[in-house]
Amino acid sequence: MAEFLQYLPEAFSITNLITLVLGVIGGLLLGATPGLSPTMAVALLVPFTFHMEAATGLILLGAVYTATVAGGAISAILIKIPGAPANIATLLDGYPMAEQGKAQSALYICFISSLVGGIFGMIIMIMFTPPLARIAIQFGAPEMFWIAIFGITIMAGLSSGSIAKGLIGGMFGVLISTIGYSPVLGVPRFVFHDVLTGGVAIVPALIGLFAIPQVFSMGEKLGITYSRPKYKPEKGVLIKTIIANLKMVKALGIGSLVGTVIGVIPGAGGQVAGLIAYDQVRKFDRNPEDYGKGKPEGVAVSESANNAMVGPSLIPLLTLGVPGSPTAAVLLGGLLIHGLFPGPDLFIKHPDVTYTFIGSLVLAQIAMCVFGILLSRYSYLVMSVSNLYMVAAVTVLAVYGTYSVQNSFDDVIVMFGLGTVMYIGSKFGFSSAPVVLGIVLGPIAEDNFLKGKMIAEASVGVWKYFFTGYANIIIILLCVGSIGYSIYGEVRMHRRGKRSREAMS
């Protein structure tokens, strides 16, 4: 905590504050735009940070991440389309409120609750991240190898409908990361064309895998028009809403707590946090039947939960180097292009950047609430932007973002190639997140595997080195548990689907 307070003033420098405000406003607008996921928004912004100071660049990405999660609620409330998966639970009561002419109230509740949950999550993050990092610093090559594999297993299970496909995607990501020169022998591998000589850099891969499939997907949905309820902002609603919102202690408490706990679990994500918290508050309410019909507590609990998740979701990234969510994986890319390697020693080697980043996330929560409330009266304008224009704009930004990192047109071709293959893969049930995780974690896994193998062959043998020791066994069990939980989830989902199909027939 002392170090956090020591570096906190850095977050208040003029440059950092301006960056933070721009990031928050941009994030709110991007989050509110249907079709633009927070992950893709952050991925497109990563190259912009390349020319900034490391701390400033990370502040921009952190601010956008925070604001897109809350901004996604705007489209959930006004047009029943969650801007991000984290806002699915929000629309259950947010949209009925809008239909009843209470859209303004719903939006204000959304931003105030997001602030409460977000600050709670950040406090937990600040308290627990440094101690966990001190434990993680004891890890050697085998533990880091298993942690990289753990990262792939968690994301594989939760971001795809099929655990096998998720893991295949993750492993293909690892294979893609091996293109180029071997880290040990310096000989080329899979360099079938000059374009691949330098390997696949992270930023082109991130942009290609998240943005290009989205471009094609938006192209498929050109004919869709959104119906939206009437929204006419009125004066005097804000004070009434703040008072009413702060009285929703139970909803805010459950949302913040569930969001924080779910956030720490790598891969669980905001949609899980929102839905579990929503379910819990409904169970604890005297009138559970009111939920889903425009109950303000429904909006408060889901929004406090999905924003409480933001801070804790970065704990695995900052302490272990394992991104806890697809957006955290993109943030990892942002750290890497500034030469910052997330993991246990990040707090020791770069405390200034790390603590300034954490401090700015707290400020971003406050800015998100203030600007969210200010912008909400104009939010309907954002949703008027047609997919037609988004297709063109996202493509141009993707090209710019990819080219600008290394001034290489080869990267642009790699970006487009990966994105096109990913789009085809998405039609067969594969998703981008495990592939990105594989590309990001692949080098960590390979380096530590080879390092560990060399040490093991000269000492106790490979089997004993990689499969014994408390830390190894615990992480291996976590991998098995993660896969087991995903299989359980898949079986349950299909059984539920089968039952509902039988009921329909």
Binding site: H51, G161, A164, M171, L175, E220, V391, V396, L450
Partner: protein, 163 residues
């Protein structure tokens, strides 16, 4: 009818075999880790194959992305969930955009790409007013990125005979 997951599993297995064969061209010490990953992918593809052939049939599962009676109605008009026409137009336009970018430069080609894509994808909706809005949007977008990238961030972008 062959399950979609079966096709995916067989395709992944074929790719795995091809990749494994290609490893013989590289230094064996440089591909130790890659070999482990290829084995893992092969094992997962086998798992997917078994799952698609046996388990799903027994439990009445349907493959991910497969059409049910309900979503078939939605997808019939879009060729089983794939709107090939706009996707093909976007794909070809992007390729042309890349080609033209090397001659004309980033900003000019971005303007033309923007104009072309918003016109071609919305051909059934062409009026003079809408056309002007589309061209103005493309111009404003290009101007904004030019000011942002070229004058504020001072970032290098692909150069051609123009900008």
């Amino acid at each position: 009818m062959i399950n979609r997951d079966t096709i995916v599993a067989l395709f992944v297995l074929a790719v795995t075999v091809a990749l494994y064969i290609s490893l013989s061209a590289f230094n064996p010490d440089a591909v130790v880790f890659i070999r482990v990953i290829i084995f893992a992918i092969g094992a997962l593809a086998m798992l997917l194959l078994v799952q698609s052939l046996l388990l799903k049939r027994r439990m009445g599962w349907r493959g991910v992305g497969q059409s049910s009676a309900v979503d078939k109605k939605d997808t019939d008009s879009r060729s089983a969930g794939f709107a090939w026409k706009p996707v093909s137009i976007i794909f070809i336009s992007i390729l042309v955009y890349f080609y033209v970018m090397e001659f004309l430069g980033f900003y000019v080609s971005a303007f033309f790409y923007f104009v072309v894509i918003v016109f071609i994808l919305d051909l059934h909706n062409v009026t003079i007013k809408k056309s002007l809005i589309k061209i103005a949007s493309a111009f404003i977008f290009t101007l904004v990125i030019y000011v942002l990238f070229n004058m504020i961030l001072l970032v290098q972008t692909p150069r051609g005979i123009l900008i």
